[in-house]
């Protein structure tokens, strides 16, 4: 059949592609190798090993982390085996001679109580196996937050000054890494606390104004007052719920609906809302309470201080692998500088959760996915953000 298939051309094209690929590969390799002295190479390989170990230590001192980091620590120390213990027992043993593993926690007890390095000779470590390399131990404490949280013990056929020094320095480096890990955990905890704070943070103005508006209907239109009260109950239940950090866009919009019904009871015809929602994006998972604060911001800052009718437009559009959600108002606007201060967390005045929504979006999806605010004095405001339709670890509920 090869009438239209020109074999020589195909061979030439395939060959050219192959050569190009090889060239790129060779160029990449050449850059990596370079010309290095032996000392440089040893330094770099040590740094590389350390960086591998530090990645595992990012979770703190857990058995898995100790197990994985232990391999790299052993490579740096050049000892025969390495044991890592925490205050209560052995976390990991790396290297030969693991019949000594049950004693490792005991070997480290001196260092653990004194907080200083200790050396055990062959008098303290006895072994019936003549080939066993575990004859001497050097232990150094792991100190995080000025407390001894564990110990690093290097085992070798004989204790040397070099090994003692290396173990001490390495333990100090591991301690620093553990401090960094603790810092990371503290940051996560702070973020979670902030999220909890946002959940509870239905603005007091809103509660007061809503109840006032409802009260005004109690005599004139009791049926409407009852409906509004039920909306209010549903709104608070959603906003104070204790579920996971994600919900679907449809759920979030339903809550925005309740919010707007209550605001409209107060503003009446002055508040006009239009929606432009592509139905395809309704099942997209978004962080819980990510849209409502933006709408509240639009209503309060865009309209409340303005005369006449105000329009708020909520739109969600499909962008292939992402969804874009935006809230527009034609209110008084504000200066870009003050928005910048709010997003940076410098100024907290009156910004209902804008900075918080921004921080949560960035934490979950990365820095490419923060809030985008377009505004100027007297020109209205548009707040928008994008969410990927799929992100690892993001599930509704």
């Amino acid at each position: 059949m090869t009438a239209s298939f020109h074999v020589p051309t195909a061979v030439v094209v395939a060959g050219a592609m192959l050569l190009l690929g090889l060239g790129v590969w060779a160029a990449g390799r050449g850059r990596r190798r370079g010309f290095l002295s032996t000392v440089d190479r040893v330094t770099y390989s040590t740094l590389h090993t350390a960086s591998l170990a530090s990645r595992h230590l990012a979770d703190g001192l857990t058995p898995e982390a100790a197990e994985r980091a232990g391999r790299h620590l052993l490579a740096i120390l050049g000892a025969s085996s390495v044991a890592i213990c925490d205050a209560s027992g052995l976390l990991s043993w790396t290297g030969p001679g693991d019949h000594h593993a049950p004693d490792a926690h005991g070997h480290a007890s001196e260092s653990r109580t004194s907080g200083a390095p200790s050396v055990l000779g062959s008098d303290a470590i006895t072994c019936s196996d003549p080939d066993c390399p575990v004859r001497a131990a050097v232990t150094a404490p792991l100190i995080a937050d000025e407390r001894v949280v564990g110990t690093l013990t290097a085992y070798a056929p004989a204790a040397s000054a070099g090994l003692a020094r290396a173990t001490g320095e390495l333990a100090r480096w591991v301690s620093a890494e553990l401090d960094v890990a603790e810092l990371g955990r503290a940051r996560t905890r702070a973020m979670e606390a902030e999220l909890r704070a946002l959940r509870a943070q239905i603005s007091p103005h809103f509660i007061y104004n809503s109840l006032g508006a409802i009260a005004s209907f109690v005599r004139t239109d009791p049926e409407r007052a009852r409906e509004l009260l039920l909306e209010f109950a549903d709104f608070t239940r959603y906003s104070l719920r204790q579920g996971g950090p994600f919900t679907t866009l449809a759920e979030e919009l339903r809550n925005v609906e309740r919010y707007l019904v209550l605001e409209q009871a107060r503003f009446g015809e002055r508040l006009q809302v239009s929606l432009l929602i592509a139905p395809e994006v309704l099942p997209v998972r978004i962080p819980y309470l990510a849209v409502q604060p933006l709408v509240e911001n639009a209503v309060r800052h865009g309209l409340a201080s303005k005369e006449g009718v105000g329009h708020v437009t909520i739109s969600a559009s499909d962008q292939g692998g992402e969804a874009e959600i935006s809230v527009d108002d034609d209110g008084v606007g504000t200066s870009p500088e003050s928005v910048q201060r709010i997003l940076d967390g410098v100024s907290r005045a009156d910004s209902i959760g804008l900075g918080n929504v921004d921080a949560r979006l960035r934490q979950i999806y990365g820095d490419d996915f923060g809030l985008v605010v377009e505004t100027a004095e007297g020109a209205g405001t548009r707040v928008s953000f994008r969410v990927p339709k799929y992100a690892p670890g993001v599930h509704a509920e």
Partner: protein, 510 residues
């Protein structure tokens, strides 16, 4: 010839596609009342959209041509195209939806927690998408060549340009409503001429066509060294298991709000496709009546387009031909743009965006990269289509299905139903299936159809590639229990728990 009317019909279809693609979002309704829940895409609408995107040139032109050419054995073909959704319904539709994945690479990452598997799956999405785009371009060339007499590459180029423009402009992104319309347009364009031709045939009293035994008896060999049983079984396996691996089909499932809706959608898809696939056999039989033999050099793929003017003379025939040409182009454009959209998305997200942002220090966002990816997604299959013109449309489609069946079917079915699938096992299954299916397709493309068993095995590779890939994935997984993802149990619970059962750890009690 009925040049003018057909050209007008094709032009209308192309312009509409570009305009709708460009306008995109503006079609969604503006409303001031909420009722958001009532506005989610209903399973029926979504099913129409899936069918509209799925019914391609192969269905519109190729199936009738193959039945006309090879006889009743090929009646299995429309059955297989529909049956794929039954397998999808039973095996993966709801769990896939519950996984929260938007694309196949997403599912690979969600289930196996590995970026490497994700990349591999992305590579395969591109390969399958390109392989499936090739016959679309071929079909475009054929259709336009027949109705206007233009060279074959003109039609292919037209579709390539229109698709690249529509995708690059940012349109054609899951516009459910538009794709749903496409289904009904295609059905009308195929059904109306079919009924007119049927009525004329009944009135003329032309009687049944005279056909050879090889045409009318099931499983009769076409040549001494043919293996009809193997050929049919392998084709059915490819279609049954390949449908779930088509990139443009699964992204639409994300539009369903939950697993139940995903299943309802699939049931509707089976019904809609069942109705559509009643029609190509009608054209095949009528073709046998009116065109007992084709002139030399004319391909059987064009039988649908040739029939009207053979039966109806004058304006009536021209109108029917124009209708069919327009319908064929609608089929081409909707499938091609769906595929190109999926391939573009993957090329952009996995390949171009990381590279661009590295080169420009994170500043290269916006549309430049996306447009580049759209052009790349279309150019490669266009060039390939120029080289493999001699192979029938449905055969090329068969290879795309075989590749999907040999790679994604094991990944999805084992991923959804087998807890001990390991990362290494999944990778091994994907690689073995991909290499086997691709080499079979390439051998056929380059060397042409072979005779005897080698020919049968290479032309319909699914029957040996797919079990091979399954076996590899299972054996390697059992040998590498250490690389089973640690959160497998949790992911499986999420995939299989119906939405009515609330898994939330704590909620405000009612």
């Amino acid at each position: 010839m009925s040049d003018t009317l057909s050209v007008v019909a094709v032009a209308i279809v192309c312009v509409t596609t570009v305009v709708v693609g460009g306008l995109g979002l503006r079609l969604s309704r503006r409303t001031s009342d909420f009722y958001v829940a009532g506005r989610t895409v209903s399973p029926r609408l979504n099913a129409s959209a899936i069918s509209g995107e799925y019914l391609s040139a192969a269905s519109f032109l190729g199936v009738a041509g193959l039945i006309y050419d090879q006889g009743v054995d090929l009646l299995w073909l429309p059955v297989g195209y529909t049956l794929g959704y039954l397998v999808l319904l039973v095996m993966v539709a709801a769990p896939m939806r519950r996984s929260g994945a938007y694309t196949l690479p997403d599912f690979a990452e969600a289930r196996l927690g590995s970026v490497f598997v994700r990349r591999l799956a992305a590579l395969l999405v591109v390969a399958i998408g390109w392989m499936y785009l090739v016959p679309q371009f071929q079909g475009a060339g054929l259709a336009l060549a027949l109705v206007t007499g233009a060279p074959q590459w003109v039609g292919a180029l037209l579709v390539a340009v229109v698709v690249a423009a529509a995708v690059g402009a940012g349109g054609m992104r899951s516009i459910t409503f538009v794709q749903a319309m496409q289904y009904w347009i295609k059905l009308t364009c195929l059904a109306v001429p079919a009924f007119v031709l049927l009525a004329l045939w009944l009135r003329s009293g032309a009687g049944l066509p005279s056909v050879s035994d090889a045409w009318s008896l099931p499983f009769s060999p076409k040549s001494p060294d043919d293996h009809p049983h193997y050929r049919t079984a392998s084709m059915m396996l490819a279609l049954c298991l390949g449908t779930m691996g088509l990139p443009h089909v699964l992204v639409r499932y994300y539009t369903n709000p939950d697993g139940v809706a995903a299943r309802r959608t699939t049931v509707s898809v089976v019904a809609l496709l069942g109705v559509f696939y009643l029609l190509p056999p009608v054209y095949a039989v009528l073709g046998r009546v009116h065109l007992p033999s084709l002139p030399a050099g004319v391909r059987s793929d064009t039988i649908v387009l040739q029939l009207p003017e053979r039966v109806v003379s004058g304006l009536g025939g021209d109108v029917l031909t124009a209708m069919l040409a327009g319908g064929a182009f609608a089929a081409l454009l909707s499938t091609a743009s769906g595929l190109a959209m999926s391939v573009t998305g993957v090329l952009h997200q996995e390949l171009l965006r990381p590279q661009l942002s590295r080169l420009t220090g994170g500043d290269a966002f916006g549309f430049g990269g996306f447009r580049l990816a759209a052009v790349g997604a279309v150019v490669v299959p266009f060039v390939v289509a120029r080289y493999v013109e001699q192979i029938g449309i449905a055969t090329t489609v068969g290879f795309a299905f075989s590749l999907a069946a040999a790679t994604f079917a094991p990944l999805l079915m084992l991923g959804v139903w087998w807890r001990r699938l390991s990362r290494v096992g999944a990778v091994a299954g994907l690689v073995v299936g991909a290499v086997a299916a691709t080499s079979a397709a390439l051998t056929t493309f380059v060397a042409g159809p072979l005779d005897g068993w080698p020919g049968a095995l290479l032309a319909n590779p699914a029957a040996w590639c797919t079990p091979l890939a399954f076996a590899t994935a299972v054996v390697v997984s059992l040998a590498t229990p250490a690389s089973v993802p640690r959160d497998t149990a949790r992911v499986m619970v999420r995939l299989h728990t119906p939405e009515q059962v609330h898994l939330a750890r704590s909620r405000v009690p009612d």
